[in-house]
Subunit: 497 residues, 2 copies
């Protein structure tokens, strides 16, 4: 079975695999899921202590074509409650979505701002949220989407930050960039490419090594599986076995009806693979957000939700099928609040215009992934050829699979950065499957890896809570101490010049 | 007098100032000079021990527009006479011209290749020489020229080097980049932006600080003046006074005829300012190439040509006018071989298609320059507004005067690079006016400045000769020792991984 799953959006629920089953081949293509819609509504409503601004940003930094100088409105958020003129500026390098959501889920920056008298700035990534260079037509075709990529985004941040400092008459303020997930990749790349603008970067859960052949392709799904296995071997085995049961069901004449009933779908299913994707998504995202406290990032979930899922799987009465156990576990993810009477496994539309990641995955962000025999998912290989053809069909462009490692590096990163660069924190939680593509070892005295065994997807960036475990408190303390060192060094150097 | 002289091509003779005299304002606009044509012919003929190759290069690395993936043929030269598989690769990051010329004038790399068993690669800069993305139409309009800039050039080098190493099955070969003048800027920026591709950079006479307000705007012409003043105060004073005499001449009814006669022009002059530019150019370029040995970079010239010029000025009989002395001195530059019977001060065409620098100067390479009262040139100020209007008129685009410092930095470079980056040599000769915009002090243990008081424009990159002075031999030795250290460190690290 060829499985061209390289474009896995980090944090979005936008994607439901639509799987076409062609002579034994499974091709997932991400399309928006139903659940994203309600999630999105939640985000818009969330109240965050920031003022909204818009910056006239240049469309294309790297050519001087007549079209390049077109200007679009780039959204950014400011909190100056704690800032003192000349004090540091903490910038979040926004990732693939509405910047409000990242601001709402990066409470760490708010928590530490008073200590540093820091200005907080959250910059939205071009082509996401309100920062649409071509308004509603931004996603229309490669002629507009062509301007969506990470290098342009980094240049946006550079131009905006420089202008902001000038407007604030605070040009000697040190800037520290923060980012989680793809935003963390951007933060670390920003420090590497723009060291004259950011004195340091805190990159949380940033899988900058998930490209080309740097990280084993099976590591992501192996890591998800590992999370479940660690909690309960039976739980892992049940999930691993559930796919065959689902397959078997689909071969009955009444298969679709049976699956629809079992999955309590609001409408009869069109494809049994919708059920498959629905489960898949629940397990993957629950592993990612396997936080030590109750949280609501992807979905409202209890503390250590993987454990809770396995409790459900292991706790059902003898005789319950594997697939029914898998369904019950997934329901925790989709319905922890118990508000859903039935589930919409199919559908979704582009109303929220958050599909930029698909484009990025089809052009620059090519991350090959496979499922090994040891994973709890059906084994699958990766075919670049199929991936490329899918992308060509979808967007009319060919991916550049080696571009990211050419532009940003990644191979032998220890050797390269051991003697180059400084002031970077790579934090990762090993519960998070993305950690496997991250930097997990210290590279030099000032390029350090903070790894927690029980941490999940950028958990360190979440607001502190009274239930935070000791290791998380400690991790954040380490980050604060390192940032403080960068700032002290900067101000000392500044005085000497 | 407003003097918007920011686009001074580093090494080309392509430019004769065509000055329009409007109500006391002097606006120089660079157009090709007559002398470039014959110079260009010389270069094409020069024999260099390299094989010519062409690489299918992508047009636009930083967008994924349908047009971006257009491929053009990028020229590069290879010499593998001394290379051993796995040995280092020395890459010259080509600047604004035919790559053959740079190869012919960077004998240093050939001289040191045997010692290091190095492969030599000279890569031509896009939109120069034979590397024309749109063939003869490349310079047609901003729609084609829009792809000509330094960031695209750097990405070209990254893509080409990576592909070359793969083709050579020598992916662990360390790459050191070399460049002189604008090529040196590119080499240093390449090390900063692509540390995973180049382990070090030797940047000779690279004025990376000649932007924005980093370096005083008058420093370039002050440095030219300093060269002449150091040799002879009288010489400096004569040149300084010659402009007024030329002005006075131009006010006679028969002024043009007199000037034509005095300057031994082949045809009668249309403007007295052609004579002014002709002198100006001779003094500036002679200062740049004030080499300690006989050389032929811009023009065939004797050792220490500034000294020779001043000998001419100081040696003419009493009673000779300042302007006639200035003419005689300039004749050394234009006619050291004594072959010219008369001089063509006006004219020139675009036959050689080397005007890319004008475009770069009008878009990204905005280097403001003025002439102070202390310089030997007529005092002049800088008007960005005029510069911008000239560029708009000429190309229909607006310059981005702060873009280079946003993209590559420059302000407080010591503070930034003291704690970031490594393995860079900035070599400068203080005779070269471009040195003033260069890095003249060591920044860290491995980002070093090699400064020679008697050196000129990337003199260290020239082939060694038996007449080389001790300081030049020493400078090259230092460079070799530093490169050797980088390589030893690299191979040691490689073994450990």
């Amino acid at each position: 079975m060829a499985f061209s799953s390289s474009y896995f959006s980090f944090i979005f629920l936008i994607l439901l695999f639509i799987i076409s089953f062609v002579v034994g081949e499974i091709k997932p293509i991400y399309l928006p899921g139903t659940y994203q819609s309600s999630l999105e509504k939640q985000h818009v409503k969330s109240k965050i202590p920031f003022k909204v601004h818009y910056f006239p940003q240049i469309l294309d930094h790297f050519t001087f074509l007549p079209k390049s100088s077109k200007v679009f409105k780039q959204k950014y958020l400011i909190n100056d409650n704690y800032w003192k003129q000349g004090g540091p500026i903490f910038v979040y390098t926004g990732n693939e979505g509405n910047i409000d959501w990242f601001a709402a889920n990066t409470g760490f920056m708010l928590d530490i701002a008073p200590k540093f008298h820091a200005l907080l700035v959250f910059i939205e990534h071009r082509f996401y949220g309100d920062s649409m260079p071509f308004g509603k037509k931004s996603y229309k075709s490669p002629k507009t989407l062509g301007y969506l990529n990470s290098q342009q985004a980094l240049a946006d941040y550079a131009v905006l930050i420089r202008s902001l400092k000038q407007n604030l008459s605070s040009e000697s303020s040190p800037v520290v960039v923060f980012g989680g997930s793809y935003g963390g990749m951007l933060a670390s790349w920003f420090r590497l490419k723009y060291p004259h603008i950011a004195i340091g970067a805190v990159a949380s859960s940033a899988p900058i090594l998930q490209f080309d052949k740097i990280t084993p392709w099976s590591s992501f799904y192996d890591a998800v599986s590992q999370d479940f296995k660690e909690v309960s071997l039976n739980c892992y085995r049940v999930i691993k076995g559930s796919w065959t049961e689902l397959d078997a069901l689909s071969k009955h004449e009444e298969g679709l009806t049976e699956v629809s009933k079992l999955f309590r779908t609001c409408k009869g299913l069109h494809s049994v693979y919708s059920a498959r994707d629905w489960l898949w998504e629940a397990f993957v995202y629950t592993a990612m957000v396997n936080y030590p406290t109750k949280a609501n990032f992807m979905m409202p979930l209890p503390a250590y939700p993987v454990q809770e899922m396995c409790k459900i799987i292991d706790g059902l009465p003898k005789g319950a099928s594997k697939i029914s156990r898998a369904f019950a576990a997934a329901s925790l993810y989709y319905n922890y609040t118990k508000r859903e009477k039935c589930f919409n496994l199919e559908g979704g539309d582009d109303a929220h215009g958050l599909h930029g990641w698909d484009w990025q995955a089809c052009t620059e962000m090519v991350m090959p992934m496979t499922c090994s025999n040891e994973s709890m998912f059906p084994p699958s290989s990766y075919s670049y050829k199929e991936f490329k053809e899918d992308c060509k069909k979808k967007y009319g462009v060919e991916p550049r699979p080696h571009w990211i490692t050419t532009e940003f590096g990644g191979y032998r990163i220890e050797q390269v950065l051991k003697r180059f660069g400084s002031n970077m924190i790579f934090s990762n939680g090993m519960q998070d499957p993305w950690s496997r593509g991250g930097v997990l070892k210290n590279i030099s005295a000032s390029i350090v890896a903070l790894v927690t065994q029980k941490g999940a997807h950028h958990v360190d960036f979440r607001s502190e809570t009274k239930n935070d475990p000791g290791w998380l408190i400690m991790q954040r303390k380490q980050e604060v101490a390192i940032i403080q060192k960068w700032l002290e060094e900067y101000y000392r150097d500044l005085k000497q010049n």
